[in-house]
């Protein structure tokens, strides 16, 4: 890093020995810009799906219900047995028996207000929330069936869980794409700067012939390319951020799907992109320059 900063200061006289902006060094700038632009989008997408997954998992909840029906034994006794079993089951964050009022509000959408629930032999319900680590739903179901007659586990959150898992997987894909884009950027910047060095081989030869040391020549080239990659990537990142900022706000429209925008301060992470580009360009050009120079006596 300190070497990088040192480089930025530069030496105006030594700099002039590098041919100005050949086509293939302009390529370094353009490639950095385009790839940075794509990287910003991939980053935004990844962060958005990450938030989506969080939101879904909290919004949908993951609760399950245990239903207690058919009064064979005293209801209260069986209820306390269920609660005892639950307290022994690992992976359950909390549980509680619903009150009659709560059950009534749950049923209202189906039955309407008119049905006198109090007079009905409606089953008691116990709601449980699994902890982060899922509990063994199948095991619990079997145990309840065996030990508490009339108790049935209704794992009605089961169908929602894959949804959250899907969102998480989308996030992984998004970050994977981001990684791919950064690797591709590194590869292309390396190639472009190597190509530019190859083009400038005659200039390298002239410099060697007049007694320039390798470090002197390399420094001038490395500086040029690092600056170019940094400028290009910064430009691409800025345009990318601006484009995302200018996108219609999906959050307001969508509700469920979070918008593509960066939440809060997460857009700061996009600033890493030009930095990565500069570091890649620095090392790639340095290695390429010394390699190219070694072939020149």
């Amino acid at each position: 890093m300190s070497r990088l900063l040192d480089l930025m200061r530069g030496d105006p006289v030594a700099d002039r020995v590098v041919p100005p902006s050949t086509r293939s060094s302009a390529l370094t700038l353009i490639i950095s810009a385009i790839m940075a632009f794509l990287a910003v989008f991939a980053l935004a997408l990844s962060l958005a799906t990450l938030r989506l997954a969080d939101r879904w998992s909290s919004a949908l909840g993951e609760s399950a219900t245990i239903r207690l029906t058919a009064p064979e034994e005293s209801e209260e006794a069986r209820l306390s047995r269920i609660l005892a079993i639950l307290s022994e089951t690992p992976g359950i964050a909390s549980f509680r028996a619903l009150t009659v009022e709560e059950e009534k509000s749950l049923l209202t959408p189906w039955l309407g207000e008119a049905v006198p629930l109090e007079t009905l032999p409606i089953p008691r319900l116990v709601e449980l929330l699994p902890a982060d680590q899922d509990y063994d739903a199948e095991g619990l179901r079997l145990r309840l069936e065996a030990e508490v007659p009339g108790a049935a586990l209704d794992d009605h959150a089961a169908w929602r869980r894959p949804l959250v898992r899907s969102a998480h997987r989308l996030t992984v894909l998004g970050f994977g794409a981001l990684g791919l884009i950064l690797v591709a950027m590194a590869a292309m910047v390396t190639l472009a700067s190597t190509a530019s060095l190859a083009v400038n081989r005659p200039a390298l030869r002239v410099l060697r012939l007049v007694g320039a040391r390798d470090a002197f020549i390399a420094r001038a080239f490395v500086r040029r390319f690092t600056l170019r990659a940094l400028t290009g990537a910064a430009l691409g990142t800025l345009i990318g951020l601006a484009a995302i900022w200018a996108l219609p706000d999906m959050e307001a429209a969508g509700g469920f799907l979070t918008g593509l925008g960066f939440g809060g301060l997460s857009w700061l992470s996009a600033l890493l992109i030009p930095l990565i580009a500069a570091i890649v360009a620095f090392w790639a050009t340095r290695a390429a320059a010394f390699r190219a120079l070694k072939e020149i006596p």
């Binding site: 006289v13 002039r16 020995v17 200039a203 030869r205 002239v206 410099l207 007694g211 320039a212 040391r213």
Partner: protein
């Protein structure tokens, strides 16, 4: 200051010369002749360590060439001024900046460039073309610019490869006079040329030795020339 001992060199297994020796002492003046393709340019490239000998040793300023690293070779080249046959320049810099290139490469501060460049530009008659880019120069102007670049660091050894190939007789004599003057200041001068008239003209001004590359050997051409 540069000495070749028992040196052999060839490209692709075809030996150009075998077991030749040569010493460029301070104040010496040599001409190098030989047919086209005899190996004059190759011999010069060995002298400034652009090529390393396949056999034999080269000593430059009392140091064996084989033991100089890449930076050592760069240092050496600042003390050896070379006029290349193909006059390679940096095409994006002006003629003036190209002549200053050895100063830039040696990290001489720009404030100290001025006078030496102006003098040299005048000597080789390029004052008017100083702002042009090298591709805009005529063949002869390029050669003169290359000579100026070779002399800018006032080197101890001057190697010139056909420095007058594209110059008319008058200009050639001017260049020769400049080289003789530098030689009188104690610099070693080696000029590869096929122009026998130039060699004859030089003999009247300085006691030059004429070396001839023939059949892989380096002979001293007799007074018969």
């Amino acid at each position: 200051m540069i000495a070749l001992e028992d040196v052999s060199y060839g490209f692709d297994g075809r030996l150009l010369f075998e077991g030749i020796g040569m010493t460029l002492a301070p104040g010496s003046f040599h001409f190098l002749t030989g047919a086209s393709g005899a190996g004059k340019t190759t011999l010069l490239r060995l002298c400034y360590l652009d090529l390393l000998p396949q056999r034999g040793t080269i000593t430059a300023f009392s140091k064996p060439a084989a033991r100089l690293g890449r930076d050592g070779i760069a240092q050496l080249r600042r003390r050896v001024g070379v006029v290349h046959q193909d006059c390679a320049f940096l095409d994006h810099l002006s003629v003036r900046d190209n002549i200053a290139l050895p100063l830039i490469a040696a990290s001489v501060p720009p404030e100290q460039h001025g006078a030496a460049i102006d003098d040299l530009l005048h000597w080789v008659g390029l004052t008017e073309r100083a702002a042009a880019r090298p591709p805009e120069l005529s063949g002869g102007e390029k050669q003169r610019a290359a000579l100026a670049r070779a002399l800018i660091l006032s080197p101890d050894v001057i190697l010139a490869d056909e420095p007058t190939g594209n110059l008319d007789w008058e200009m050639s004599l001017n260049i020769l006079t400049l080289l003789v003057e530098l030689n009188r200041l104690g610099k070693a001068v080696l000029v590869a040329t096929h122009d026998l008239n130039l060699i004859r003209a030089a003999k009247s001004q300085v006691s030059a030795r004429v070396l001839r590359l023939r059949q892989g050997q380096l002979d001293v051409a007799g007074a018969g020339l």
